[in-house]
Protein backbone atom coordinates (compact mmCIF):
# COMPACT_ATOMS: atom_id res chain seq x y z
CA UNK A 1 0.00 0.00 0.00
CA UNK A 2 1.39 3.37 -0.93
CA UNK A 3 0.31 6.18 1.35
CA UNK A 4 -0.63 9.34 -0.49
CA UNK A 5 0.58 12.62 0.92
CA UNK A 6 0.67 16.36 0.40
CA UNK A 7 3.67 18.57 0.97
CA UNK A 8 2.58 22.20 0.98
CA UNK A 9 5.42 24.69 0.84
CA UNK A 10 4.82 28.19 2.21
CA UNK A 11 8.04 29.51 0.68
CA UNK A 12 6.84 29.16 -2.90
CA UNK A 13 3.13 29.86 -2.42
CA UNK A 14 2.05 33.08 -4.12
CA UNK A 15 -1.37 33.28 -2.47
CA UNK A 16 -3.31 32.95 -5.71
CA UNK A 17 -6.01 30.70 -4.19
CA UNK A 18 -6.18 28.54 -7.30
CA UNK A 19 -6.24 25.53 -4.95
CA UNK A 20 -9.30 26.88 -3.17
CA UNK A 21 -11.08 27.43 -6.47
CA UNK A 22 -10.05 24.10 -7.99
CA UNK A 23 -11.15 22.23 -4.87
CA UNK A 24 -14.52 23.95 -4.78
CA UNK A 25 -15.17 23.32 -8.47
CA UNK A 26 -13.99 19.74 -8.68
CA UNK A 27 -15.70 18.62 -5.49
CA UNK A 28 -18.81 20.75 -6.06
CA UNK A 29 -18.45 22.31 -2.63
CA UNK A 30 -21.09 25.00 -2.06
CA UNK A 31 -20.37 28.64 -1.30
CA UNK A 32 -20.23 29.41 2.39
CA UNK A 33 -20.57 33.17 2.62
CA UNK A 34 -18.26 36.04 1.89
CA UNK A 35 -16.86 38.52 4.38
CA UNK A 36 -14.13 41.11 4.22
CA UNK A 37 -12.05 39.92 7.17
CA UNK A 38 -9.56 42.79 7.26
CA UNK A 39 -6.88 40.16 7.89
CA UNK A 40 -4.46 40.68 5.03
CA UNK A 41 -5.90 39.06 1.88
CA UNK A 42 -7.52 36.22 3.77
CA UNK A 43 -11.28 36.42 3.41
CA UNK A 44 -11.63 32.64 3.76
CA UNK A 45 -10.32 32.61 7.34
CA UNK A 46 -10.45 28.92 8.14
CA UNK A 47 -11.06 25.42 6.87
CA UNK A 48 -14.61 24.21 7.27
CA UNK A 49 -17.39 22.02 5.98
CA UNK A 50 -17.35 23.91 2.69
CA UNK A 51 -13.71 25.03 2.62
CA UNK A 52 -11.26 22.19 2.13
CA UNK A 53 -8.28 24.30 1.08
CA UNK A 54 -7.61 27.60 2.82
CA UNK A 55 -4.86 30.00 1.81
CA UNK A 56 -3.40 31.88 4.76
CA UNK A 57 -1.77 35.28 4.49
CA UNK A 58 0.66 36.01 7.27
CA UNK A 59 1.91 39.55 7.72
CA UNK A 60 4.88 39.45 10.04
CA UNK A 61 7.56 41.83 11.29
CA UNK A 62 10.38 39.65 9.90
CA UNK A 63 13.11 40.10 7.32
CA UNK A 64 13.80 36.56 6.08
CA UNK A 65 10.99 35.61 3.77
CA UNK A 66 9.99 35.29 0.15
CA UNK A 67 7.87 38.41 -0.04
CA UNK A 68 9.72 41.18 1.73
CA UNK A 69 7.88 44.43 1.32
CA UNK A 70 10.01 46.69 3.44
CA UNK A 71 13.51 46.17 4.80
CA UNK A 72 13.57 49.31 6.96
CA UNK A 73 10.40 48.36 8.79
CA UNK A 74 10.83 44.59 8.98
CA UNK A 75 7.94 43.06 7.12
CA UNK A 76 7.29 39.84 5.29
CA UNK A 77 4.25 38.33 3.71
CA UNK A 78 3.95 34.53 3.88
CA UNK A 79 1.26 32.41 2.26
CA UNK A 80 0.28 28.84 3.03
CA UNK A 81 -2.50 26.64 1.74
CA UNK A 82 -3.95 24.75 4.69
CA UNK A 83 -5.79 21.43 4.28
CA UNK A 84 -7.02 18.40 6.24
CA UNK A 85 -3.96 16.71 7.74
CA UNK A 86 -5.15 13.11 7.13
CA UNK A 87 -3.57 12.16 10.48
CA UNK A 88 -1.87 8.81 10.98
CA UNK A 89 -4.06 8.51 14.11
CA UNK A 90 -7.15 10.53 13.23
CA UNK A 91 -9.35 11.86 16.04
CA UNK A 92 -12.39 12.21 13.78
CA UNK A 93 -12.12 8.63 12.58
CA UNK A 94 -11.78 7.19 16.10
CA UNK A 95 -14.74 9.26 17.34
CA UNK A 96 -17.19 8.54 14.51
CA UNK A 97 -20.01 6.38 15.97
CA UNK A 98 -21.52 5.38 12.62
CA UNK A 99 -18.42 4.11 10.87
CA UNK A 100 -18.95 6.84 8.31
CA UNK A 101 -15.35 8.02 8.60
CA UNK A 102 -12.93 5.41 7.30
CA UNK A 103 -9.26 4.92 6.47
CA UNK A 104 -8.92 4.37 2.74
CA UNK A 105 -6.50 2.15 0.87
CA UNK A 106 -4.38 5.23 0.10
CA UNK A 107 -4.06 6.00 3.83
CA UNK A 108 -6.39 9.00 3.72
CA UNK A 109 -9.30 9.72 6.06
CA UNK A 110 -12.61 9.79 4.22
CA UNK A 111 -16.13 10.74 5.31
CA UNK A 112 -18.70 8.53 3.57
CA UNK A 113 -21.49 11.00 3.05
CA UNK A 114 -24.10 8.30 2.54
CA UNK A 115 -23.51 7.07 6.10
CA UNK A 116 -22.85 10.24 8.16
CA UNK A 117 -25.84 11.22 10.31
CA UNK A 118 -24.41 14.51 11.51
CA UNK A 119 -23.90 13.65 15.20
CA UNK A 120 -21.12 16.22 15.39
CA UNK A 121 -18.71 14.17 17.50
CA UNK A 122 -15.91 14.25 14.91
CA UNK A 123 -15.96 18.05 15.12
CA UNK A 124 -14.89 18.16 18.77
CA UNK A 125 -12.47 15.28 18.23
CA UNK A 126 -10.33 16.86 15.50
CA UNK A 127 -7.20 18.38 17.09
CA UNK A 128 -6.73 20.60 14.02
CA UNK A 129 -10.24 22.10 13.80
CA UNK A 130 -10.70 20.84 10.24
CA UNK A 131 -13.96 18.94 9.96
CA UNK A 132 -17.28 20.72 10.50
CA UNK A 133 -20.99 20.21 10.01
CA UNK A 134 -22.53 21.91 6.98
CA UNK A 135 -25.60 23.91 7.97
CA UNK A 136 -28.82 22.98 6.12
CA UNK A 137 -27.22 19.75 4.84
CA UNK A 138 -26.55 18.57 8.39
CA UNK A 139 -23.68 16.21 7.66
CA UNK A 140 -19.97 16.59 8.39
CA UNK A 141 -17.61 17.38 5.52
CA UNK A 142 -13.90 17.79 4.95
CA UNK A 143 -11.20 17.25 2.34
CA UNK A 144 -11.60 13.88 0.57
CA UNK A 145 -7.98 13.93 -0.65
CA UNK A 146 -9.72 13.74 -4.04
CA UNK A 147 -10.15 10.01 -3.49
CA UNK A 148 -12.21 9.82 -6.69
CA UNK A 149 -9.42 11.42 -8.73
CA UNK A 150 -6.69 9.34 -7.13
CA UNK A 151 -8.62 6.15 -7.89
CA UNK A 152 -8.77 7.29 -11.52
CA UNK A 153 -5.00 7.85 -11.55
CA UNK A 154 -5.21 11.63 -11.29
CA UNK A 155 -3.60 13.91 -8.72
CA UNK A 156 -5.80 15.95 -6.35
CA UNK A 157 -7.42 19.01 -7.88
CA UNK A 158 -5.58 21.51 -5.65
CA UNK A 159 -2.15 20.07 -6.49
CA UNK A 160 -3.05 20.01 -10.18
CA UNK A 161 -4.14 23.66 -10.14
CA UNK A 162 -1.20 24.98 -8.12
CA UNK A 163 0.92 27.14 -10.46
CA UNK A 164 4.11 27.16 -8.35
CA UNK A 165 4.26 23.54 -7.12
CA UNK A 166 3.70 24.82 -3.62
CA UNK A 167 1.26 21.93 -3.28
CA UNK A 168 3.18 18.76 -4.01
CA UNK A 169 1.52 15.37 -4.16
CA UNK A 170 3.17 12.00 -3.90
CA UNK A 171 3.80 9.15 -1.52
CA UNK A 172 4.40 9.82 2.14
CA UNK A 173 7.97 8.64 2.53
CA UNK A 174 9.18 10.40 -0.57
CA UNK A 175 7.52 13.69 0.38
CA UNK A 176 8.83 13.46 3.94
CA UNK A 177 12.33 13.25 2.55
CA UNK A 178 11.66 16.03 0.07
CA UNK A 179 10.30 18.20 2.90
CA UNK A 180 13.36 17.65 5.05
CA UNK A 181 15.67 18.40 2.12
CA UNK A 182 13.74 21.56 1.35
CA UNK A 183 14.03 22.79 4.93
CA UNK A 184 17.76 22.03 4.90
CA UNK A 185 18.17 23.96 1.66
CA UNK A 186 16.13 26.91 2.92
CA UNK A 187 18.18 27.14 6.12
CA UNK A 188 21.39 27.13 4.13
CA UNK A 189 20.01 30.02 2.12
CA UNK A 190 19.36 32.08 5.23
CA UNK A 191 15.79 31.20 6.06
CA UNK A 192 16.74 30.22 9.58
CA UNK A 193 13.19 29.75 10.83
CA UNK A 194 12.22 27.28 8.08
CA UNK A 195 10.81 23.99 9.38
CA UNK A 196 8.77 20.97 8.37
CA UNK A 197 5.46 20.65 10.22
CA UNK A 198 4.79 16.96 10.84
CA UNK A 199 3.94 16.13 14.48
CA UNK A 200 5.57 12.69 14.49
CA UNK A 201 6.43 12.76 18.18
CA UNK A 202 2.84 13.24 19.38
CA UNK A 203 0.00 10.71 19.65
CA UNK A 204 -1.22 11.89 16.23
CA UNK A 205 1.78 9.99 14.91
CA UNK A 206 2.47 12.29 12.00
CA UNK A 207 0.28 13.69 9.25
CA UNK A 208 -0.17 12.86 5.57
CA UNK A 209 -0.41 16.56 4.73
CA UNK A 210 2.88 18.13 5.77
CA UNK A 211 3.88 21.77 5.54
CA UNK A 212 7.13 23.62 4.95
CA UNK A 213 6.71 26.81 6.96
CA UNK A 214 8.69 29.83 8.07
CA UNK A 215 8.37 30.72 11.74
CA UNK A 216 6.33 29.09 14.44
CA UNK A 217 3.56 26.53 13.76
CA UNK A 218 1.28 28.61 16.00
CA UNK A 219 1.49 31.48 13.49
CA UNK A 220 -0.31 29.21 11.03
CA UNK A 221 -2.78 28.00 13.67
CA UNK A 222 -1.00 24.64 13.52
CA UNK A 223 -1.07 23.16 17.04
CA UNK A 224 2.50 22.73 18.38
CA UNK A 225 1.66 19.34 19.97
CA UNK A 226 -1.66 17.98 18.68
CA UNK A 227 -2.97 14.88 20.43
CA UNK A 228 -5.52 12.32 19.27
CA UNK A 229 -8.29 12.44 21.93
CA UNK A 230 -8.34 8.65 22.35
CA UNK A 231 -5.32 9.04 24.66
CA UNK A 232 -7.70 10.68 27.16
CA UNK A 233 -10.09 7.70 27.21
CA UNK A 234 -8.33 5.70 29.91
CA UNK A 235 -8.22 8.45 32.52
CA UNK A 236 -11.74 9.70 31.71
CA UNK A 237 -13.29 6.21 31.85
CA UNK A 238 -11.41 5.38 35.05
CA UNK A 239 -12.80 8.51 36.66
CA UNK A 240 -16.30 7.79 35.30
CA UNK A 241 -16.39 4.19 36.55
CA UNK A 242 -15.00 5.13 39.95
CA UNK A 243 -17.54 7.96 40.28
CA UNK A 244 -20.39 5.65 39.23
CA UNK A 245 -19.30 3.01 41.76
CA UNK A 246 -19.17 5.60 44.53
CA UNK A 247 -22.59 6.94 43.48
CA UNK A 248 -24.06 3.44 43.73
CA UNK A 249 -22.49 2.87 47.15
CA UNK A 250 -24.05 6.14 48.32
CA UNK A 251 -27.44 4.99 46.99
CA UNK A 252 -27.08 1.69 48.85
CA UNK A 253 -26.08 3.45 52.08
CA UNK A 254 -29.09 5.77 51.74
CA UNK A 255 -31.56 2.89 51.41
CA UNK A 256 -29.83 0.53 53.87
CA UNK A 257 -30.62 2.96 56.70
Amino acid sequence: MTISAFLTDATVCIGCKACEVACKEWNEVPADGFVWSGLSYDNTQSLGASTWRHVMFLEQPQTAGPQIADTKDPFRWVFLSDVCKHCANAGCLEACPTGSIVRTDIGSVLVQKDVCNGCGYCIVSCPFGVIDRRPVDGRAFKCTFCYDRQKAGLIPACAKACPTQSIQFGNLEELQERGNNRVHELRERGYEDARLYNPLETSVGGVHAMFVILGEPENYNLPPAPEVPTIYLKSAWTSALLSAAIAFVIACVAFAH
Binding site: G38, Q45, E59, P61, D73, F75, E94, C96, P97, T98, G99, S100, V115, C116, N117, G118, C119, G120, Y121, V124, C126, P127, F128, G129, V130, I131, D132, R133, G138, R139, E218, Y220, N221, P223, P224, A225, P226, E227, P229, Y232, L233, S235, A236, W237, T238, S239, A240, L241, S243, A244, A245, I246, A247, F248, I250, A251, V253, A254, F255, H257
Partner: protein
Protein backbone atom coordinates in the same frame (compact mmCIF):
# COMPACT_ATOMS: atom_id res chain seq x y z
CA UNK B 1 -22.01 70.30 -10.09
CA UNK B 2 -21.58 74.03 -9.74
CA UNK B 3 -21.44 75.84 -6.43
CA UNK B 4 -25.07 76.82 -6.79
CA UNK B 5 -26.04 73.21 -6.18
CA UNK B 6 -23.93 73.18 -3.01
CA UNK B 7 -23.94 76.64 -1.36
CA UNK B 8 -21.51 75.55 1.37
CA UNK B 9 -18.71 74.70 -1.06
CA UNK B 10 -16.07 77.29 -1.94
CA UNK B 11 -15.78 78.40 -5.54
CA UNK B 12 -13.26 76.32 -7.50
CA UNK B 13 -10.14 78.23 -8.44
CA UNK B 14 -6.42 77.62 -9.02
CA UNK B 15 -5.82 78.83 -5.45
CA UNK B 16 -8.33 76.39 -4.08
CA UNK B 17 -6.72 73.47 -5.95
CA UNK B 18 -3.31 74.47 -4.51
CA UNK B 19 -4.87 74.57 -1.08
CA UNK B 20 -6.28 71.06 -1.51
CA UNK B 21 -2.94 69.71 -2.71
CA UNK B 22 -1.09 71.27 0.24
CA UNK B 23 -3.58 69.96 2.77
CA UNK B 24 -3.31 66.46 1.32
CA UNK B 25 0.49 66.56 1.35
CA UNK B 26 0.58 67.78 4.96
CA UNK B 27 -1.78 65.07 6.06
CA UNK B 28 0.14 62.39 4.21
CA UNK B 29 3.61 63.34 5.50
CA UNK B 30 3.43 61.79 8.97
CA UNK B 31 1.96 58.59 7.49
CA UNK B 32 5.11 57.94 5.44
CA UNK B 33 7.05 56.82 8.50
CA UNK B 34 4.11 55.56 10.51
CA UNK B 35 4.24 51.96 11.68
CA UNK B 36 2.03 49.55 9.78
CA UNK B 37 -1.43 49.66 11.26
CA UNK B 38 -2.84 46.41 9.93
CA UNK B 39 -2.80 43.26 12.03
CA UNK B 40 0.54 41.44 12.20
CA UNK B 41 1.52 38.09 13.63
CA UNK B 42 4.44 38.21 16.06
CA UNK B 43 6.39 35.71 18.13
CA UNK B 44 4.37 32.61 18.83
CA UNK B 45 1.02 34.27 18.29
CA UNK B 46 -1.86 32.45 16.64
CA UNK B 47 -3.08 33.24 13.14
CA UNK B 48 -4.65 36.66 13.83
CA UNK B 49 -6.32 35.22 16.94
CA UNK B 50 -8.68 33.13 14.84
CA UNK B 51 -9.85 29.87 16.45
CA UNK B 52 -7.74 26.76 15.84
CA UNK B 53 -10.50 24.36 16.79
CA UNK B 54 -14.12 24.06 15.74
CA UNK B 55 -16.74 24.79 18.36
CA UNK B 56 -19.20 22.01 19.21
CA UNK B 57 -22.28 22.20 16.99
CA UNK B 58 -24.53 20.54 19.56
CA UNK B 59 -27.82 22.30 20.09
CA UNK B 60 -29.88 22.75 23.28
CA UNK B 61 -31.06 19.13 23.19
CA UNK B 62 -27.65 17.69 24.08
CA UNK B 63 -27.19 19.53 27.39
CA UNK B 64 -30.76 18.63 28.33
CA UNK B 65 -29.97 15.04 27.38
CA UNK B 66 -26.92 15.02 29.65
CA UNK B 67 -29.18 16.15 32.50
CA UNK B 68 -32.09 13.79 31.85
CA UNK B 69 -29.77 10.88 31.09
CA UNK B 70 -28.03 11.43 34.42
CA UNK B 71 -31.25 11.71 36.43
CA UNK B 72 -32.99 8.74 34.79
CA UNK B 73 -29.89 6.54 34.78
CA UNK B 74 -29.29 7.18 38.46
CA UNK B 75 -33.01 6.63 39.17
CA UNK B 76 -32.66 3.06 37.90
CA UNK B 77 -29.66 2.64 40.21
CA UNK B 78 -31.73 4.02 43.14
CA UNK B 79 -34.56 1.62 42.32
CA UNK B 80 -32.17 -1.32 42.47
CA UNK B 81 -30.55 -0.08 45.69
CA UNK B 82 -34.01 0.29 47.25
CA UNK B 83 -34.95 -3.20 46.06
CA UNK B 84 -31.77 -4.65 47.54
CA UNK B 85 -32.41 -3.11 50.95
CA UNK B 86 -36.16 -3.68 51.11
CA UNK B 87 -37.30 -0.22 50.18
CA UNK B 88 -41.01 0.53 49.81
CA UNK B 89 -42.65 -0.67 46.61
CA UNK B 90 -44.10 2.76 45.76
CA UNK B 91 -40.63 4.32 45.72
CA UNK B 92 -39.16 1.56 43.55
CA UNK B 93 -42.05 1.93 41.13
CA UNK B 94 -41.65 5.72 41.01
CA UNK B 95 -37.88 5.48 40.47
CA UNK B 96 -38.35 2.94 37.67
CA UNK B 97 -41.00 5.18 36.15
CA UNK B 98 -38.62 8.18 36.21
CA UNK B 99 -35.96 5.99 34.60
CA UNK B 100 -38.33 4.85 31.87
CA UNK B 101 -39.54 8.40 31.21
CA UNK B 102 -35.90 9.40 30.74
CA UNK B 103 -35.30 6.39 28.52
CA UNK B 104 -38.09 7.63 26.26
CA UNK B 105 -37.00 11.29 26.26
CA UNK B 106 -33.25 10.70 25.79
CA UNK B 107 -33.39 9.13 22.31
CA UNK B 108 -35.82 11.82 21.15
CA UNK B 109 -33.42 14.57 22.27
CA UNK B 110 -30.41 12.85 20.72
CA UNK B 111 -32.15 12.21 17.42
CA UNK B 112 -33.39 15.81 17.28
CA UNK B 113 -29.81 17.01 17.60
CA UNK B 114 -28.53 14.98 14.65
CA UNK B 115 -27.82 16.79 11.41
CA UNK B 116 -29.68 13.96 9.66
CA UNK B 117 -32.25 12.69 12.21
CA UNK B 118 -33.66 10.11 9.78
CA UNK B 119 -30.30 8.31 9.88
CA UNK B 120 -30.31 7.77 13.66
CA UNK B 121 -30.16 3.99 13.21
CA UNK B 122 -26.69 4.38 11.67
CA UNK B 123 -25.54 4.79 15.29
CA UNK B 124 -26.03 1.04 15.63
CA UNK B 125 -24.03 0.08 12.51
CA UNK B 126 -20.84 -0.33 14.51
CA UNK B 127 -19.76 -1.07 18.08
CA UNK B 128 -16.72 1.09 18.73
CA UNK B 129 -15.13 0.89 22.16
CA UNK B 130 -12.82 3.82 21.39
CA UNK B 131 -15.77 6.12 20.58
CA UNK B 132 -17.70 7.31 23.66
CA UNK B 133 -20.48 8.42 21.29
CA UNK B 134 -20.84 4.87 19.96
CA UNK B 135 -20.68 3.42 23.49
CA UNK B 136 -23.31 5.93 24.57
CA UNK B 137 -25.71 4.90 21.81
CA UNK B 138 -25.41 1.25 22.86
CA UNK B 139 -25.67 2.09 26.56
CA UNK B 140 -28.86 4.05 25.90
CA UNK B 141 -30.41 1.21 23.91
CA UNK B 142 -29.51 -1.32 26.61
CA UNK B 143 -30.76 0.99 29.36
CA UNK B 144 -34.12 1.58 27.66
CA UNK B 145 -34.69 -2.13 27.24
CA UNK B 146 -33.66 -2.99 30.80
CA UNK B 147 -35.84 -0.40 32.54
CA UNK B 148 -38.83 -1.23 30.35
CA UNK B 149 -38.57 -4.92 31.23
CA UNK B 150 -37.88 -4.03 34.87
CA UNK B 151 -40.98 -1.87 35.18
CA UNK B 152 -43.23 -4.44 33.46
CA UNK B 153 -41.89 -7.26 35.65
CA UNK B 154 -42.22 -5.07 38.73
CA UNK B 155 -45.89 -4.32 37.95
CA UNK B 156 -46.56 -8.02 37.33
CA UNK B 157 -45.11 -9.01 40.71
CA UNK B 158 -47.23 -6.30 42.36
CA UNK B 159 -50.39 -7.56 40.67
CA UNK B 160 -50.38 -11.16 41.75
CA UNK B 161 -47.95 -12.66 39.25
CA UNK B 162 -45.16 -13.07 41.80
CA UNK B 163 -44.05 -16.36 40.33
CA UNK B 164 -40.30 -17.23 40.44
CA UNK B 165 -39.79 -16.58 36.72
CA UNK B 166 -41.21 -13.04 36.85
CA UNK B 167 -39.34 -12.29 40.07
CA UNK B 168 -36.13 -13.56 38.49
CA UNK B 169 -36.65 -11.41 35.41
CA UNK B 170 -37.43 -8.42 37.62
CA UNK B 171 -34.19 -8.83 39.59
CA UNK B 172 -32.13 -9.31 36.44
CA UNK B 173 -33.73 -6.36 34.67
CA UNK B 174 -33.44 -4.10 37.71
CA UNK B 175 -29.79 -5.03 38.20
CA UNK B 176 -28.87 -4.52 34.56
CA UNK B 177 -31.00 -1.36 34.48
CA UNK B 178 -28.96 -0.06 37.42
CA UNK B 179 -25.68 -1.00 35.74
CA UNK B 180 -26.56 0.53 32.37
CA UNK B 181 -28.10 3.51 34.20
CA UNK B 182 -24.83 4.18 36.01
CA UNK B 183 -23.02 3.95 32.68
CA UNK B 184 -25.57 6.34 31.15
CA UNK B 185 -25.01 8.88 33.93
CA UNK B 186 -21.23 8.50 33.74
CA UNK B 187 -20.34 8.15 30.06
CA UNK B 188 -21.41 11.69 29.12
CA UNK B 189 -18.48 12.94 31.18
CA UNK B 190 -16.16 10.77 29.07
CA UNK B 191 -17.98 11.91 25.93
CA UNK B 192 -16.90 15.51 26.40
CA UNK B 193 -13.72 14.74 28.37
CA UNK B 194 -12.08 12.60 25.69
CA UNK B 195 -12.15 15.26 22.97
CA UNK B 196 -9.74 17.77 21.47
CA UNK B 197 -11.58 20.61 23.23
CA UNK B 198 -9.12 22.17 25.72
CA UNK B 199 -11.41 22.94 28.68
CA UNK B 200 -13.14 19.57 28.36
CA UNK B 201 -10.09 17.36 27.93
CA UNK B 202 -8.16 19.22 30.60
CA UNK B 203 -10.99 18.47 33.09
CA UNK B 204 -11.64 14.92 31.88
CA UNK B 205 -11.09 13.47 35.37
CA UNK B 206 -13.23 16.05 37.16
CA UNK B 207 -16.24 16.09 34.81
CA UNK B 208 -17.46 12.51 35.50
CA UNK B 209 -17.70 13.02 39.30
CA UNK B 210 -19.40 16.35 38.62
CA UNK B 211 -21.96 14.65 36.37
CA UNK B 212 -22.47 11.79 38.85
CA UNK B 213 -22.99 14.21 41.74
CA UNK B 214 -25.69 15.94 39.70
CA UNK B 215 -27.22 12.56 38.84
CA UNK B 216 -27.35 11.42 42.47
CA UNK B 217 -28.79 14.70 43.71
CA UNK B 218 -31.08 15.09 40.70
CA UNK B 219 -32.63 11.63 40.94
CA UNK B 220 -33.11 12.08 44.70
CA UNK B 221 -34.64 15.53 44.14
CA UNK B 222 -37.12 14.20 41.56
CA UNK B 223 -38.25 11.51 44.03
CA UNK B 224 -38.63 14.19 46.72
CA UNK B 225 -40.74 16.34 44.41
CA UNK B 226 -42.93 13.34 43.57
CA UNK B 227 -43.55 13.03 47.32
CA UNK B 228 -40.96 10.63 48.74
CA UNK B 229 -39.65 12.84 51.53
CA UNK B 230 -37.85 9.94 53.16
CA UNK B 231 -34.55 9.90 55.10
CA UNK B 232 -32.97 8.15 52.11
CA UNK B 233 -33.75 10.96 49.64
CA UNK B 234 -32.70 13.49 52.29
CA UNK B 235 -29.32 11.78 52.61
CA UNK B 236 -28.88 11.71 48.81
CA UNK B 237 -29.68 15.44 48.71
CA UNK B 238 -27.11 16.21 51.38
CA UNK B 239 -24.33 14.14 49.86
CA UNK B 240 -24.92 15.56 46.37
CA UNK B 241 -25.02 19.17 47.59
CA UNK B 242 -21.79 18.67 49.53
CA UNK B 243 -20.15 17.10 46.46
CA UNK B 244 -21.34 19.99 44.27
CA UNK B 245 -19.96 22.48 46.79
CA UNK B 246 -16.56 20.78 46.90
CA UNK B 247 -16.40 20.51 43.10
CA UNK B 248 -17.54 24.13 42.75
CA UNK B 249 -14.67 25.28 44.97
CA UNK B 250 -12.24 23.06 43.05
CA UNK B 251 -13.28 24.52 39.66
CA UNK B 252 -13.27 28.05 41.05
CA UNK B 253 -9.70 27.63 42.30
CA UNK B 254 -8.42 26.07 39.03
CA UNK B 255 -7.15 29.33 37.59
CA UNK B 256 -5.21 28.01 34.57
CA UNK B 257 -5.92 29.93 31.35
CA UNK B 258 -7.47 26.77 29.88
CA UNK B 259 -10.17 26.97 32.58
CA UNK B 260 -11.07 30.59 31.91
CA UNK B 261 -14.38 29.57 30.22
CA UNK B 262 -15.40 28.30 33.68
CA UNK B 263 -14.72 31.70 35.19
CA UNK B 264 -15.43 34.30 32.53
CA UNK B 265 -18.15 35.23 30.07
CA UNK B 266 -21.53 33.58 29.58
CA UNK B 267 -20.29 30.07 30.35
CA UNK B 268 -18.39 31.26 33.43
CA UNK B 269 -21.39 32.96 34.97
CA UNK B 270 -23.72 30.09 34.12
CA UNK B 271 -21.20 27.69 35.65
CA UNK B 272 -20.91 29.74 38.85
CA UNK B 273 -24.66 30.29 39.27
CA UNK B 274 -25.30 26.60 38.58
CA UNK B 275 -22.66 25.51 41.08
CA UNK B 276 -23.95 27.87 43.75
CA UNK B 277 -27.55 26.69 43.30
CA UNK B 278 -26.77 22.99 43.37
CA UNK B 279 -24.01 23.32 45.97
CA UNK B 280 -24.10 25.81 48.86
CA UNK B 281 -27.68 27.06 48.35
CA UNK B 282 -29.24 23.58 48.17
CA UNK B 283 -27.10 22.56 51.14
CA UNK B 284 -28.07 25.60 53.22
CA UNK B 285 -31.78 25.19 52.47
CA UNK B 286 -31.53 21.55 53.55
CA UNK B 287 -29.67 22.46 56.74
CA UNK B 288 -32.07 25.28 57.66
CA UNK B 289 -35.32 23.43 57.11
CA UNK B 290 -36.26 19.76 56.97
CA UNK B 291 -39.94 20.61 56.50
CA UNK B 292 -41.65 19.35 53.34
CA UNK B 293 -41.56 22.77 51.69
CA UNK B 294 -37.92 23.31 52.68
CA UNK B 295 -36.90 19.99 51.14
CA UNK B 296 -38.87 20.70 47.98
CA UNK B 297 -37.17 24.10 47.70
CA UNK B 298 -33.77 22.46 48.10
CA UNK B 299 -34.69 19.84 45.49
CA UNK B 300 -35.74 22.52 43.00
CA UNK B 301 -32.55 24.55 43.62
CA UNK B 302 -30.46 21.44 43.00
CA UNK B 303 -32.30 20.44 39.81
CA UNK B 304 -32.07 23.95 38.33
CA UNK B 305 -28.38 24.12 39.21
CA UNK B 306 -27.64 20.66 37.80
CA UNK B 307 -29.47 21.44 34.55
CA UNK B 308 -27.78 24.82 34.15
CA UNK B 309 -24.35 23.31 34.79
CA UNK B 310 -24.83 20.96 31.79
CA UNK B 311 -25.44 23.99 29.59
CA UNK B 312 -22.48 25.75 31.19
CA UNK B 313 -20.19 22.85 30.26
CA UNK B 314 -21.34 22.98 26.62
CA UNK B 315 -20.97 26.77 26.49
CA UNK B 316 -17.53 26.46 28.09
CA UNK B 317 -16.56 24.10 25.28
CA UNK B 318 -17.73 26.64 22.70
CA UNK B 319 -15.73 29.42 24.38
CA UNK B 320 -12.67 27.17 24.76
CA UNK B 321 -12.62 26.25 21.07
CA UNK B 322 -12.39 29.97 20.24
CA UNK B 323 -9.28 30.58 22.36
CA UNK B 324 -6.16 29.56 20.41
CA UNK B 325 -3.68 30.93 22.96
CA UNK B 326 -5.03 28.73 25.78
CA UNK B 327 -4.72 25.69 23.50
CA UNK B 328 -1.13 26.54 22.56
CA UNK B 329 -0.18 27.16 26.16
CA UNK B 330 -1.45 23.79 27.31
CA UNK B 331 0.32 22.01 24.43
CA UNK B 332 3.64 23.75 25.04
CA UNK B 333 3.51 22.74 28.69
CA UNK B 334 2.81 19.09 27.96
Amino acid sequence: MTSSANPGARKASEERLDEIRKAAADAALPLRNAPVSHPQIRGKESYYGLPVLKAPVWTWEVALYFFIGGVSGMSAALAFAAQLFGGEAALIRAALFVALTGAVLCPILLIADLGRPSRFLNMLRVFKVQSPMSMGAWILVAFSGCVFVALVAFELTQRGYAIPLVIGIRWAAEASGALTGLFLAAYTGVLIGATANPVWSHNRKAIPPHFLASAVGGSGAVLELIGFLTPATQLLGFVAAVAETVLGIYFELSRLPVNSPLHRGKSGWAFRIAGTLAGPIALLVRLLSDSASGRRAAAICFLVGALLSRYAWIWAGVASAKDPEALFQIQRKA
